[in-house]
Every structure is written in C-alpha cells, then in structure tokens.
C-alpha cells in the first residue's frame, strides 16, 4: 500500500507541475541554439555523433572566441528518437525559448516535412544540409526552407556522372543496368523520379528495389540484383543497419562492392565497419571531407576535449558523421555571424537569419579562414536558389579508411533545376501560395 501511495503522490506531483513548465522566455544575452538529435532509437549511432559534434563546435566557439562576435552561444538538447512527432514537439517546446530559435535543424527528412509550414508561420528558417525536401531548393516558394549544399536530386546526378566517368564517358552508360536499392521511406523514395529521368536521357535502364524498414534481411533483393538482373551498378540508398546488411549480402551473393555506390547516408564508418571485409572496395558519395587534420577540428580537440568537456569518445572525432556535424555547426554559426553583420552584434532571431542566409556565401577564402578547407565545400545561396549546388566527392573504403576518389564532381544543375521548379510550382498551386519574385 505504501507503493500505491507513492504512485498517487507521483501522479499528483506530475499533474501540478506540468502546466507552467515551459513558457516563452526573455533572452539572457546569449545566442540560443537548439541541438536536436537522436541519442536513442535505431539510428542513435548517427544521431549521437551529430548532436555531440554540434555541441562540441559551439562549445569550442565559446572557449576560443568567446562566442560569435562576443555573443556567447547557449544550447539545449532535444531528443527526437528520429520520430516526426517528437521533432515537432521539440520545435514547439523551444521555438520561443531564450529569445526564440534563430534556426532549426529537424535532423530527419520526415521531420523537415513536418515542421515546414509551422516554421514558415513562425519565421524560423529550417536548415537541412544534405537531406530534406528537395523541391524546397526553390526559395521563391519556400522562403524559410534551406536544403543547403546539395540536395538528393543533385547528388544523384553527380553519382550518375561518376559512374559514367568510371565507364569511360557518359555515352558508355547506354544499355547499362542500374539497380536502385532504397529504404522504403520519405528519404528513400525521393530520388526515384530523377533516376527515371536520367535513365531516359542517358539510355541506361534502372530498376528500383524497395527494402522494408529497417532492412535487417535483404537476401531476396540481392539475389535478384546479382543473379537475376545482373546489374552493372547499384545505388545504395540506405540508412542505419540497412547499409552493413546490404554489403554483407552483396558479398554473399558475390556482387562486386566496387560497383556499389552509396549515398552519403550510407557512407560513414558506422555503415562499413560492422560489415567487416565485406565493405572493402565499396564506394560512397560525400558532401564533406573527414579526418582530424582540419585546423577547425584541431581547435575542437584543443579547446574542448583537452579540457575534458567533449561529448563523444575521442576515436569518433575524425569520422564521417562527426565531420558532417562540424559542417552543420559551422554553417549555422556562420549564418548567425552574417545576420549579426547585417543587424548588429547581439543575439539574432529567425527572420534576420533568413535574410542573411539568402545572401550567404561560403567562399573558398572564408572556408580557409575557418580552418575547414576540404571539409566544407564552397557554395553560395540566393533568394531563388536555397541549395547552392555544391560539388560532390566520392570515397572508397580501403583498408579501414575512407579514401577520396578523384576530384569533386559537379552536379547537373541544368537538369535538376527545372524539375525542382516544376515540383515547387505544383506545391504552390496545391497550397494556393503565390511564389515570391526574385
């Protein structure tokens, strides 16, 4: 009975405590950053690196420079478990926190869709770097959405160009068979239209293979690819456990890993290490470099880890996911720096960051000054183009390391842009929006 009393008391405390728990707060003089990530759930291996890496960078800025132009950064973490409703809850909980969100990373393609309209109304820019809704690259229809660097469609054009180059010219792709192995989700399905379009243009055939989430067992798919279709190339569009499982199956059915090209969500250490030898030779795309040799990561080690304040085990520092978190944090911080240049050296709000982002330019000089040469590719945004269309790099897993192959590959903007504009126009029509003119 004592237990029952305790239970009742807990409930009563809960009922009393909840209503006033969260309210909009006044700014305390710091720039508030929300670190939205997933430390638990099926994709925690990636999420913990993203969340930890971004916190590390913000902490380093505070330690090394005293924040951005003297404005210290403050942050809160929010656990999303990679679930859309929790992402929305995080957004709602923190949108007015400490003066309000200056920008929001949903950290999942589905989440990006879910907060799109809310953020538009609240004037908070939604930043998705390397993921998220592709057609939002059209800034005229989506003023508060920034799918930066390279979207999925652009990335895909680079991938086909890479394959063409490997075959010895784009004309050699004619008659080739490409299998698109994708995770059955918003993220996985997104490239089907652009692949079909490219197949028409270059004369190769493409067959799509859906893998039901989470993709623990893909034997059937790989048997079809290797023994029935006998594909020339495979595009692997996986996430989480699906990637090592795919590589293992590929080895089992004897499909050459050198002919598998993964997207950048299939190209981290977490995707290949569990597959062991099966991953040797596997190729993946990347929008960022990796390693600890970049001056900016050295600064993180010096100012954060050497003082014992790091979020992650040290051995994860040079890995692909960590480097990606650095890219996200750097771009976020630089967007705030630009907004400060336009509106004054104080904590900025979403509306101001949006204006700064539409003029955002990551020039090669700026990248160098940040100590991130080779880590962040140069790109620039405009009111019309919220993507930037940065080049894509390819890397191969060799002897326990990602080794870059060749140079950065430019994306085919001429092909993707009309598709984006058509899709965005359809969205605008459905929602009866009038696109901005710019």
């Amino acid at each position: 009975m004592a237990l029952r009393k305790l239970a009742t008391a807990l409930l009563a405390a809960a009922a009393l405590g909840l209503p006033g728990a969260v309210q909009a707060q006044q700014n305390d003089g710091t720039q508030f950053m929300l670190v939205n990530a997933y430390w638990t759930g099926p994709f925690a291996a990636g999420g913990s690196a993203f969340g930890g890496g971004m916190i590390d960078y913000y902490r380093m800025l505070n330690e090394r420079d005293g924040g951005i132009n003297g404005v210290k950064l403050s942050w809160e973490k929010c656990e999303t478990q990679y679930q859309n409703d929790r992402i929305v809850e995080c957004y709602e909980r923190f949108k007015g926190h400490n003066g309000g969100l200056a920008l929001f990373h949903p950290m999942s393609t589905g989440g990006a869709y879910a907060v799109l309209e809310r953020a538009q109304k609240d004037l908070i820019p939604v930043i998705t770097i390397g993921y998220g809704r592709t057609d939002a690259s059209d800034g005229r229809v989506f003023p508060y959405k920034f799918p930066m660097l390279t979207n999925y469609w652009s990335q895909n054009t680079a991938k086909i160009r890479f394959m063409g180059a490997q075959e010895g010219g784009m004309d050699k792709l004619k008659g080739k068979k490409i299998a698109n192995v994708y995770l059955e989700s918003a993220y996985g399905k997104e490239t089907i239209p652009v692949l079909d379009e490219q197949a028409k243009r270059y004369g190769f055939s493409v067959q799509h293979f859906a893998v039901a989430a989470p993709g623990l067992d893909q034997k059937a798919v790989w048997l079809q690819i290797a023994r029935q279709l006998r594909a020339d190339w495979v595009i692997l569009r996986g996430w989480g456990v699906m990637n090592p499982a795919a590589l293992k199956e590929a080895e089992r059915v004897g499909f050459a890993r050198e002919k598998i090209v993964g997207v950048w969500w299939s190209g981290s250490e977490e995707d290949v290490v569990p597959a062991g030898d099966a991953a040797e030779g596997y190729i993946s795309a990347a929008f960022n470099g990796s390693g600890t040799h970049f001056p900016v990561i050295q600064d993180v080690i010096k100012h954060v880890y050497d003082k014992g304040n790091g979020e992650l085990p040290r051995e994860r520092l040079g890995q692909v996911f960590y480097a990606r978190a650095m890219v996200w944090a750097i771009i976020s911080a630089e967007a705030i720096r630009d907004a400060q240049a336009m509106f004054g050296k104080r904590p900025v709000v979403g509306k101001e960051v949006q204006q700064a982002l539409e003029k955002f330019a990551m020039t090669p000089e700026r990248v160098k000054k940040l100590g991130a040469e080779g880590l962040v590719p140069p790109f620039s945004l405009s009111c019309k183009d919220h993507e930037g269309g940065a080049a894509v790099r390819f890397q191969q897993w060799k002897g326990g390391k990602w080794v870059p192959i060749g140079d950065w590959v430019a994306v085919d903007k001429d092909m993707v842009r009309p598709m984006i504009e058509a899709s965005a126009a359809a969205y605008a029509k459905e929602k009866s929006l009038t696109p901005r003119s710019c």
Partner: protein, 310 residues
Amino acid sequence: MLEMIYLDPLFAIEVVVSGLLSGIMYSLVALGFALIFKASGIFNFAQGAFVLFAALTLVSLIEGALFGVKLPLLLAAAVTLVIMVVYGMAVERLVLRPLINQSLIILFMATIGLNFFTEGFAQMLWGAQVKRLDLGIPEKPWEGLRLATGITLSVFELVAAAIAGVLVLGLTLFFSKTTTGRALRAVSDDNQAAMSVGIPLQHIWAVVWAVAGIIALVAGMLWGAKLGVQFSLSLLALKALPVLIIGGFDSIVGVIVAGLIVGASEKFAEVFVGPYFGGAIENWFPYVLATVVLLIKPQGLFGEKIIERV
C-alpha cells in the same frame, strides 16, 4: 526473356535454400520467446532487447570496456554469459515475481516496459556506436558448392544453422531428460498443480529466465556478427514473432520448423511474387502466412491444443 529467368530452377533452389538459412536465424531469436512462454505463459517482448544487451556486452568486453582489458572472445562470452544469467534472474525477481497471477496482457505490457529499460540500459552502459563483432567465421560463399552448381551459400549461415540445430537438440533433451526440465513442463501445464506436488516454482522460473538470457547471447553473437552490433538487433523480435506463432508458442521443435517455413516462403515470395507489386513485401508476408496457418490450426502447427469448456 524475363519469364525464362523466372523459370530457372537452379535459381529457385538457391532462393529457397538461402531462405531456409535465413529462417534458422529467425528461429534462434524465436527460441528465447518460446522457452519463456512454455515455462511461464509470458510473452516476453523484451527478448529482442536481451539479444541487443548480450551482443553489446560481449563486444564491449572484447574491445576492453572493462578496466581497459581486452578479453579474448571465449572469455568475453563466458563473462557475458554470467551477466545474462544474472540479468535474467533479476528480471524474474524484480519484474515478474511481483506480477504473479496477473493477466497475460499485464505481463506482456510489463515486458514492453522491460524492453525500454533494457534498450536504454544497454546503450547507456556501452554507448550507441555501431560495433563490429568478428567470430572468425567467414561470410564468403562456399566455393566448392559454387563451382559445382553455381549456387552461392554463405559458410557463416551454414555454421549458424548447425549451432541452432545443436541448441534445439540440447533444449529438447533438457526438457525431456532432466529433472529441472520435467519440472518446467509440469509448471507450464498447470503451475498450481506443480506447486502442490512440491515443485519450487520460483526456482524453476529463475532457471528459465537464465536460459533465455543464454539463448539471447547465442542469437546476439550470430546476428551481431552478421549485421554489426547495434540497436536494430532489438528489432529482431518482430522478425521472430511470425515464426513463433506458426510454430505454436510453446513448442521448441515448432519454432525451428516454422523458421524454415517462414524463411523459405518469404524469400520465394519476395523474389518471384514481390516484383509484381513493387517489392518489399517481406515485412507483412510472414504475418499473413501466420494468419492463414492460424485460421487452419488456431494454436499453430505444434502448439498445445486448448479445449474450452463452459
């Protein structure tokens, strides 16, 4: 052209045989469920999380999580075994004993709570990183067979199948030959009656949970070596469920037979029927198959028949 490929008998055989091997891997996970259900009538949803916990513990010990000492595989497995046995018994003591005599659905929900706890506990202790587990068994195709027939079967899965076979044989012997095993069967038939003839119920249950922990370790080792040790191992429970149900919840042999049926039919359906619907039917196909089997035999293929009286 396509039709001709579809009719290739060798390819069909290859699909079915690899399906059978996949099925055995599911059976390994399902065994843990069946064991606990047989002994206590509890549907332990946390079994998947147990697999994750066992695999993570093992690989962390190998990598030197304990005082920085890198344990060799066998020693690490032994230590993990002890940990799993203790964990299983603790679960019995702290979660299930207080819930004794509650309805099945309450017990089921408690194991879902336990599932959350175990997932969180395992990852807090050992981290969320994906880790590699190398048992030294190659995943390569079996060359001799490939050269002779063109069929590729993985050595790893053949070994796994053998291990599963040994496990089933051992459990069957345990249930039919040992005193504890017989006591277990008595308990599963009617725990009131078993208690009245002097079988120590709680002692028996502790044994069962400990054994379930051991099975989780074996499944965790094999699946961990296959996919890497990571959170998704706990999702294996969903793959094991239809196997469990087709076999009948409380039959050890049933689990193996059902595993073979599910594995083979699922792969066959995905390769030969799936393309007509755009594929990825593997998630629901086993469940629909299970429903069909249940409509014919409501307690599964090998489940004990329940006779209802008014």
